[in-house]
């Protein structure tokens, strides 16, 4: 204990290591009474504070789902805004319990960074945004352009690879913070803005003249975005990942925030098992939670479709289509393994 304390004090100052990554994250979370969730510093629709200072968004709802599964109360979350640079250190050091910050799942992050990914809450791909006045129709016309990009992201690497592979020249204009990239693009410091397409939609909204910018059709990479946890705590990993699958499964069952109580009376054994009303079910307790965990998630934030539509769907300013993120039964990639 003393050792952890000292390392916390000194390490935080010297190396940014807040405390040792301890094994039983669930116990830790239960004893402190909330989930510490690492989110974006501000990406409309995904994670941004509203005018009252409450965090809302697609990734934020995911944090709430985890809190609902553990405490039966979706509000028991505290948010740590993280930059692209600080996010992994924040997670590795134990400053946050999980990272729900539009972060791409790659093998090197899974291995060398000591993180664990499995559930993908948003299948994305990298795209380009340019001012309409440039009259660009395809990314292949972009040779010689100045490209704004956030440093330390997979985006930055894909950009270099794409231009090299297609034998195009470009001038990188690189910033650490999203806000600075936005400001530079707005000021005309660069011709092109590149990041995940979902991000481009969100960023375009924040520009002073969204209608004058167009997102090019090319998608140059696979960007499976999802929550990440530290390696070495399988129980916590399971909880965080299955909370995500519960959202997807609820959509598949047609269980919504509104009808979840009614669904408890369903005769479908799959649904009864999912909501923890089947006799002798042990699914929740085996996770280290109560058997009502999935019920609490749906009651707290709704199902995947509700979370999607509320934050980034057709009725929001972002107007993102489900596309790859439709259920597998509707031609998309969102597929939950059986919950039984």
């Amino acid at each position: 204990m003393k050792k952890t304390l000292l390392s916390a004090a000194i390490g935080a100052a010297v190396l940014g290591f807040a405390s040792a990554a301890s094994a039983a994250t669930l116990d830790n979370v239960k004893s402190k009474g909330f989930v510490q969730c690492g989110v974006n510093t501000g990406l409309a629709g995904f994670a941004a504070p509203d005018s009252a200072g409450n965090w809302t968004g697609f990734d934020v709802d995911y944090c709430k789902a985890v809190a609902a599964a553990i405490f039966g109360d979706a509000t028991k979350v505290k948010y740590t805004p993280t930059t692209a640079q600080s996010r992994f250190t924040a997670l590795q050091s134990g400053e946050v319990d999980l990272l729900a910050r539009n972060t791409t799942w790659t093998i090197s992050r899974d291995t060398a960074l000591g993180l664990n990914f499995r559930y993908v809450n948003y299948y994305d791909g990298q795209g380009f945004m340019v001012p309409k006045s440039l009259n660009v129709k395809s990314a292949l016309e972009l040779s010689g352009a100045a490209v704004c990009v956030q440093s330390g992201t997979t985006t930055e690497l894909n950009l270099a690879d794409y231009f090299k592979a297609n034998n195009l020249q470009y001038n990188p204009v690189v910033f650490e913070k999203l806000e600075e990239v936005n400001a530079a693009y707005q000021a005309g410091r660069c011709d092109v803005y590149t990041t995940d397409q979902s991000g481009l939609y969100a960023i375009r909204l924040g520009l002073s003249n969204p209608d004058e910018h167009v997102i090019l059709p090319e998608i140059i990479s696979k960007e499976p975005l999802g929550p990440a946890v530290r390696q070495g705590d399988d129980q916590w990993f399971d909880i965080v990942m299955w909370a995500g699958y519960a959202l997807v499964q609820a959509e598949e069952f047609g269980i919504t925030q509104a009808n979840v109580d009614e669904m408890k009376n369903s005769t479908n054994p799959d649904i009864r098992r999912f909501l923890g009303v089947e006799k002798d079910t042990k699914i929740g307790t085996d996770l280290g939670l109560t058997n009502e965990w999935a019920y609490n998630i749906v009651k707290g934030v709704g199902n995947y479709a509700e979370v999607f539509e509320r934050n980034i769907g057709q009725n929001t300013p972002l107007k993102i289509e489900r596309g790859l993120n439709a259920l597998w039964t509707k031609g998309g990639l969102q597929y939950a393994p059986p919950i039984r």
Binding site: K3, L6, S7, I10, G11, V14, L15, G16, F17, A20, A21, A84, Q85, F88, T89, Q92, S93, S108, R109, T111, A112, L113, G114, L134, E141, L142, S143, G144, A145, A146, S151, G152, T153, E156, L157, L159, A160, D161, K164, Q169, Y170, N171, P172, V173, V174, F175, E176, E180, A184, A187, G188, R189, C190, D191, R230, Q231, G232
Partner: protein
């Protein structure tokens, strides 16, 4: 003291005599400090290693040989995304050195002028210099950097409305583009001539000084020196058949292509660091000159020296001894403040190293590299300034 020696040596008495023994006390506390430092240091090291092992992250410096995969906007040496992480960090290091060197030169120059200006008998000049110092000294340097950067981005025209200056120089909010010289065959004669010119000037200066000591006659060393240092390379340039062509910046579809470009990020950081540090240097200069006793200039005037000679030969050499040590601190501050360039996306050491950190996840290693490099730059600067200080110090006879 002698009291203790007389008292019969009881056990408590011996202990007391140890407590009051300055030599023993000195050794005891030094040992205590040393042990504390070593234990705390070991503790940090041990905990870091343990936590790293527990978090399952890779460690070691092998990642420096890996392919970086990202591009850098301004590189003084050839760099592509195929280069290594080590080279990316080195590119950042060179950019840090570049902005530090240019910043130090400009800050010293501006600081000298402002510092002397504050001592001016002209009311307006003295007040203007005071206003300058008070403004720049009292605003955080990060704010000044943002001020210049936003100023550059917002006030200069878009790339398609570039301001065209003479000699194919273009100015827009993506920087200043100017023709890049391409040297042809025989161009090596020019630097050679420059070196010869410098050496010859040094020889002339030595000869002129000896002649002045011997005969009292003065010689225009400065004019001869300019002639040698500028004239000789120019003659060499003509002799080699003017082997110089230019790569001109041309408006492409998106950007100006070709030529050399000075990035707005560099300009903003350079201006901010120079002007900020200059305000501190001005105060150092003023303090240094004020620190020379008035009797010195009075004596100099009494000997019949002109005011300009009094300043150059009597006041400044003595003021330098006061100025140099605090000046060193200002140089170190400027160099370290250059890491704030990361805020406006200038690819200096901190920026490229933290990108490397983020792409590889090697936090401890990357930060240790940064610590070491900044420390090395600072120590090198200090050593140079200490040497310079020793040279300028009063030679006592």
């Amino acid at each position: 003291m002698t009291d203790h020696a007389v008292i019969a040596p009881s056990e408590a008495g011996i202990l007391r005599s140890y407590i009051y023994d300055p030599k023993f006390r000195g050794i005891f506390f030094q040992l205590l400090t040393l042990i504390t430092v070593v234990v705390v240091g070991w503790w940090i090291f041990d905990n870091t290693v343990e936590n790293l092992a527990r978090s399952g992250t890779a460690s070691g410096y092998g990642f420096l040989r890996g392919r970086a995969g990202f591009d850098i906007g301004q590189a003084l040496i050839p760099y592509t995304s195929d280069s290594t992480y080590g080279r990316a960090i080195f590119v950042g290091f060179l950019n840090t050195v570049l902005v530090a060197v240019f910043g130090i030169i400009t800050a010293t120059f501006v600081g000298f002028i402002i510092g002397l200006g504050r001592l001016s008998k002209n009311w307006l000049i003295a007040r203007l210099c005071t206003v300058y110092v008070e403004i720049f000294r009292n605003i955080p340097v990060l704010l000044i950097i943002f001020f210049w950067y936003k100023g550059v981005l917002d006030s200069l025209p878009q790339v398609r409305d570039s301001i065209a200056l003479p000699f194919n120089i273009f100015l827009n909010n993506r920087g200043l583009a100017f023709p890049r010289p391409i040297w042809g065959d025989g161009a090596w004669l020019i630097p050679l001539a420059l070196v010869i010119g410098i050496v010859a000037t040094m020889v002339v200066a030595r000869w002129a000084k000896q002649r002045q000591i011997a005969t009292g006659k003065q010689f225009h060393t400065v004019r001869a020196g300019i002639g040698l240092i500028v004239g000789l390379p120019f003659l060499a340039f003509l002799a080699a058949g003017a082997p110089l062509t230019f790569d001109y910046p041309i408006a492409g579809r998106f950007n100006l292509t070709g030529g050399t470009r000075i990035l707005p990020e560099f300009v903003a950081l350079y201006l901010a660091l120079s002007l900020y540090t200059a305000s501190f240097i001005a105060e150092v200069i003023r303090a240094g000159i004020r620190g020379v006793p008035k009797g010195q200039s009075e004596a100099s005037f009494a000997l019949g020296l002109q005011p300009s000679h009094t300043t150059r030969l009597v006041i400044v050499p003595q003021a330098m001894r006061i100025i140099i040590p605090p000046l060193t601190s200002q140089y170190l501050n400027l160099t370290k403040n250059s890491s704030l360039g990361v805020a406006i996306g200038f690819p200096e050491l901190f920026s490229t190293t933290s990108t490397t950190l983020n792409q590889t996840g090697q936090a401890v290693e990357a930060i240790s590299i940064m610590l070491t490099v900044y420390l090395a730059i600072s120590i090198a600067t200090s050593l140079f300034m200490n040497w310079f200080n020793a040279k300028m110090a009063l030679v006592e006879r």
